[in-house]
Amino acid sequence: MSSANPKPSAPVLDHDKVADQAGSGSYVANFESKDSALTRFQKFLHKYPVAAPTIVLVCAIIGFSLLVGDRFLHPFNLSLVLQQVTIIGVIGVAQTLIILTAGIDLSVGAIMVLASVVMGRMAIDHGLDAGFALLIGISVGALAGLINGTLITRFKLPPFIATLGSWNVFFALNLWYSKSETIRSQDIANNAPLLQWLGETISFFGARLTYGSLLMLALFFVIWYALNWTAWGRHVYATGDDPAAAKLAGIRTDRILLSVYVLAGVVCAIGAWVLIGRIGSVSPQAGYTTNLDSITAVVIGGCSLFGGRGSIYGTLIGALVVGVFRNGLALAGVDVLWQEFTVGILIIVAVGVDQWIRKGTA
């Protein structure tokens, strides 16, 4: 990440460009003077949307290591933070894709739980091969995403409303299909250990990483690649940034949106596998807060809710910021309610900063 380097923002201040702008009639007023330090900082944050959450993360790590000492910085504790943010991270990948298109998906948590119930019941109740059960679960995720995407592209429903509806629908289906029963951890361990495999850990230097965490990091890498190095990724950004302009440039924006929702559904289903690994059992009530937590991670990670702006690893950092704050406050012996309080403040500040950054360069 070169985002920590402030130098590249310098060309913006170039004299030619300032003169250029001065010559433009579209500017009501122009000031020949150089930008103030604050404006420069604003432009820097605008150019590197990941900078703000990175600064917060680094400050939080330094702050908590001073506050609670070595217990916080111990590799075991840091790997615990990573384990704790794994599910939010995976679902955050799905949410980032959607928020980049200026949408929002309130059904991600419900898709994840539904897929986990399908995986569990297919493997345990119907006795299917665990690998096959996983595939069916992932197909259910894709189908759920396809339904969301169709509602939004074909029936032109606002994403917020479409996924608010599908959230309830998927959650009800999940309760119906699971009969509101939990599949016990031992049953899965005996009959379909593959479903729990992502919960296994590998240790080094005192840190304990789960395969689930590694899968999350791999997922971030794959989606980062797709967003930054393929035409599809450019089109996702363009669609979120200005759909009319994207269409005029020849992008089939509806197809892009549909593909994003389907991919998000698949990622949520992968999240279902991670979820089973993490809690061991399959519960229709699990992961109920994942919806809003994923939005929290994306927003703190610097993605703009207006679309087209932000990066996928910002979400990873956003999830880590939340994880570090929760873990650090817990180690410091602060009541859980203050953790919620802090996360709330972080969200408001993150969105406020986003607004400020956008205003400064519009």
């Binding site: 009639g25 035409a231 363009a238 302009a245 994207a246 005029l248 020849g250």
Partner: protein, 264 residues
């Protein structure tokens, strides 16, 4: 700077008709664009010039008439088809994505992929090639006051953004560039640059159809002026043969022109 009126028109419309219910937006309109020229299309609001332009750029399918590209009849059902045949359109509202950089915008929808397995299997973009070609095109068009090709378009001024849109059309338009009110949203100085840019593109061999309301701009850059009135071509004049007020008079119907006085 030399237009070739003795040659076959690059783009020609014959007897185009478009009706919306009882309203006839285009009424047997003709238009001819010759190699190496800037043809301005002017007309009062509601004269049907935007419908005509939409028909030429593929955004609208005419009910009657034919469009010839290099003398061959063509039919476009979408802007993409027109574009594939080498007709690029620069839209009034700038089809650029503000958050993407200049190179990304130039190649938006037509990205280059890396050769070999990286491109075919991993769909990897050839960012270097795109940046190099973007850089070369911007330089060729005299747009390199823009510092950095990987700079986001939103950090550019209005005129520079228009420059990016024009550069994109010049990069891909192999036959014709259609520009819809390219100076409408710009200040005086910025307009000047864009007008120079339009001439630059013409001098590099691409004929241009320029739609504009701004008479001084039209009279400055156009080689011929197509005046649209009541759904068809009222006259085709040149900046030398008529004055601005005469053009306005023809446009509004205050002055009649018989076909014989129309320039080439």
């Amino acid at each position: 700077m030399t237009a070739h009126y003795d040659q076959q028109p690059v783009l020609q419309a014959r007897g185009l008709v478009k009706r919306y219910g009882s309203v006839t937006a285009i009424d047997h309109a003709d238009l001819a664009l010759y190699p190496g020229e800037i043809l301005a299309v002017i007309g009062d609001n509601g004269a049907g010039k935007s419908s005509l332009i939409k028909a030429l750029s593929g955004a609208l399918v005419p009910d009657e008439g034919e469009i010839l590209l290099d003398g061959q009849p063509v039919q476009f059902n979408s802007p993409m088809q027109a574009r594939e045949l080498g007709i690029e359109t620069v839209y009034q509202n700038l089809a650029v994505s503000p958050a993407l950089n200049i190179a990304d915008n130039l190649f938006l929808g037509r990205e280059l992929r890396k050769p070999g397995i990286l491109g075919s299997v991993f769909r990897m973009l050839d960012k270097k090639a795109m940046e190099e070609r973007a850089q070369a095109k911007m330089k060729e068009l005299g747009l390199m006051t823009i510092q950095n090709i990987s700079q986001a378009v939103e950090s550019l001024s209005g005129g520079q953004r228009q420059g990016v849109a024009v550069a994109r059309s010049a990069l891909f338009g192999s036959k014709v560039v259609i520009m819809d009110e390219p100076t409408a949203a710009l200040g005086v100085k910025e307009s000047r640059r864009v007008l120079n840019l339009i001439k630059e593109v013409r001098d590099r061999g691409l004929p241009i159809i320029l739609i504009s309301h701004n008479m001084p701009h039209v009279f400055e850059v156009a080689d011929r002026i197509h005046i649209h009135r009541l759904g068809k071509c009222a006259a085709t004049i040149t900046p030398e043969s008529h004055t601005m007020s005469e053009a306005v008079a023809i446009m509004t119907g205050a002055m009649e022109v018989d076909d014989s006085s129309a320039a080439a």
